[in-house]
């Protein structure tokens, strides 16, 4: 390879700086602003150097104490959704990888196509039905809804991961007299942990951040953190930006750290779930 001319490297660095600014600036702005004294939040130009203060976090605690139980709701719903999705997807993904049949092919096709449906469409009939069943404003309703929209991707990811495990391993276990349950638990499961993480990552991020279903199907008990944030943003008394930034920072930092930590699985899952599907 010939060496790049120096001016080209220069241009590439400038472009990279632009890309990084574009991605990071809005996030950094909000996180930094959450530690600024309230009167500095709209200073122009924004101050990079200031005495960090927890003032905004205190005012969040005083004006919106509700935020913390809502955050806990989000956590419970996220954990429940991820568990349900990973378990259901693993079972189905294994079958789709190892078995063939007309009904299976048809159901796999159905699984991929039905996911194209816009979620808002189903809110119409589900609203009265949820009321009637008494599951309105409960964790289980949101968990089931969130999982439903991610089991297709999850199953597909699991299928591609199981596809990579040599079938001889199971056949050996079957010959040794192991049941399907034992084979799944002892042979397949340990080998598909990366696939489970990959299929869990997407639904975890979605459940933690989701707005539409939470907005329509929760009112008090199961209300999630993003929903409360939207209420803070729409407060009739005017937006208390300091408290909003504090809440936004608390909501975004854990999931941002998580996404960066598991980026390997994010890439693996997207490759498995989209390019091959």
């Amino acid at each position: 390879m010939t060496r790049r001319p120096r001016w080209l490297s220069g241009i590439r660095l400038v472009l990279l700086a632009l890309v990084v600014t574009w991605s990071a600036f809005p996030i950094a702005l909000v996180v930094l602003a959450s530690f600024k004294p309230a009167k500095m939040i709209f200073d122009i130009p924004p101050r990079l150097f200031f005495m960090p203060t927890l003032e905004n976090y205190r005012s969040l605690l005083q004006a919106w104490p509700e935020f913390f139980p809502r955050l806990l709701n989000s956590l419970i719903i996220t954990v429940g959704t991820t568990a349900l999705t990973v378990i259901a997807s693993s079972l189905a993904g294994y079958v789709y990888a190892r078995y063939r049949g007309g009904l299976l092919t048809a159901s796999a096709f159905f699984m991929v196509v039905i996911r194209m449906l816009p979620p808002i469409v189903i809110t119409l009939p589900l609203f009265p039905v949820a009321n009637w069943l008494g599951v309105m404003d409960t964790y289980s309703l949101l968990i089931a809804l969130y999982a439903t929209f991610f089991v297709s991707l999850g199953t597909w990811i699991m299928k591609t991961f199981v596809d990579q495990i040599p079938v001889e391993l199971e056949e050996a276990a079957f010959v040794d007299g192991a049941s399907l349950g034992q084979t799944l638990r002892r042979v397949i499961l340990p080998l598909t942990v990366p696939g489970m993480i990959a299929s869990g990552v997407f639904v975890l991020v979605y459940a933690w951040n989701e707005f539409l279903f939470a907005f329509i199907f929760t009112t008090t008990r199961a209300k999630t953190a993003p929903l409360l944030l939207s209420e803070m943003l729409g407060a009739v008394t005017g937006v208390d930006w300091g408290a909003v930034f504090a809440a936004a920072t608390i909501q975004l930092v854990p999931i941002l750290v998580f996404v960066i930590a598991v980026q390997k699985y994010l890439i693996a899952g997207l490759t498995a779930g989209s390019v091959k599907g």
Binding site: L16, A92, Y99, L124, L256
Partner: protein, 289 residues
């Protein structure tokens, strides 16, 4: 291997969720779209009247136009930016792991927080982006009063939010192209532009199609960004289809009309998917012969 009853049981959790929470409700919506329905009244069959009402409603056309224009700008904007950034990364960047983490960071952010960020930057008078625009002698973005500005801002924040998805798909696909292909083409005397056109673009095409399909289908259902920023206002000028549906159902309680909107959205989504599969099929045949 042929499946037995046990194996059908293993796929049943997934299928039960999909059938009970997506298929059955959407079929019911289809039925409801031919009924007159509101609170405290028995439903009554009225044929395609809801669809005709929809076609006569200028707000529906406005919402459809807004959706189609925004979706196209968002999807193709993401494609161009995502491709550019992917190629920049393939060429090698310093601290590549850190840089990669920064570029995918918006994926982790909730729609609500995205709106917080962009609203803060574009707050009338005091937002930093409006300050920068003034500094460059440009007019401010008045998203609260000017529908075009509001739609522009929503487009911008949607691109920001979903760029990581397109970027990751294109970047990993580009990494999958063997270096030998470039070397061979270079030996045959191809210049940089020809290499890009005949090797990079051609081999990336399946990944580009996948990114386009998914982003079309997902951008088409856009709701939260619009709802949180403008609620479709001022005077219903910034509505998109999902917001129009939401208002028809939960504000005006016209469930038949909302269902017709829902089915219009479903049909559009499937048409997009169909269009994609057609191209994918053609490409496969082109490769076979």
């Amino acid at each position: 291997m042929r499946p037995r009853l046990l194996h059908y049981l293993l796929i049943s959790p997934v299928q039960v969720l999909l059938v009970s929470l997506i298929l059955a409700p959407s079929i019911y919506v289809g039925w409801l779209s031919f009924q007159q329905s509101s609170y405290g009244r028995a439903t009554e069959f009225i044929g395609v009247a809801n669809y005709l009402t929809l076609l006569r409603d200028p707000y529906f056309w406005r919402a459809l136009l807004n959706t189609v224009v925004m979706v196209n700008i968002v999807v193709y904007g993401e494609l161009l930016l995502g491709l550019g950034i992917a190629l920049l990364f393939v060429g090698g960047v310093p601290w590549s792991r850190l840089m990669f983490s920064i570029v995918i960071a918006p994926y982790a952010i909730s729609e609500v927080v995205v709106v917080v960020m962009w609203k803060y930057m574009f707050e009338p008078q005091v937002g930093i982006a409006n300050f920068a625009l003034r500094g460059m002698g440009l007019p401010e973005i008045e998203w609260a009063v000017n529908p075009i500005h509001a739609l522009g801002l929503i487009t911008l924040l949607a691109i920001w939010h979903h760029l990581p998805f397109t970027f990751i798909i294109l970047y990993t696909a580009r990494l999958g192209i063997p270096r030998e292909l470039y070397e061979a083409a270079a030996i045959d005397g191809s210049g940089p532009f020809q290499l890009f056109r005949h090797v990079t673009l051609r081999l990336l095409m399946p990944a580009i199609l996948v990114a386009l399909l998914f982003r079309y289908v997902f951008a088409f259902r856009m709701f939260s960004e619009v709802w949180l920023l403008t609620q479709g206002g001022p005077a219903r000028t910034t509505e998109v289809l999902a917001v129009y549906l939401y208002k028809a159902a939960f504000r005006y309680h016209e469930f038949g009309l909302a269902s017709a909107t829902g089915w219009a959205m479903v049909i559009c989504s499937f048409l997009i998917a169909l269009w994609y599969m057609r191209i994918a099929y053609r490409r496969m045949f082109a490769h076979d012969t």
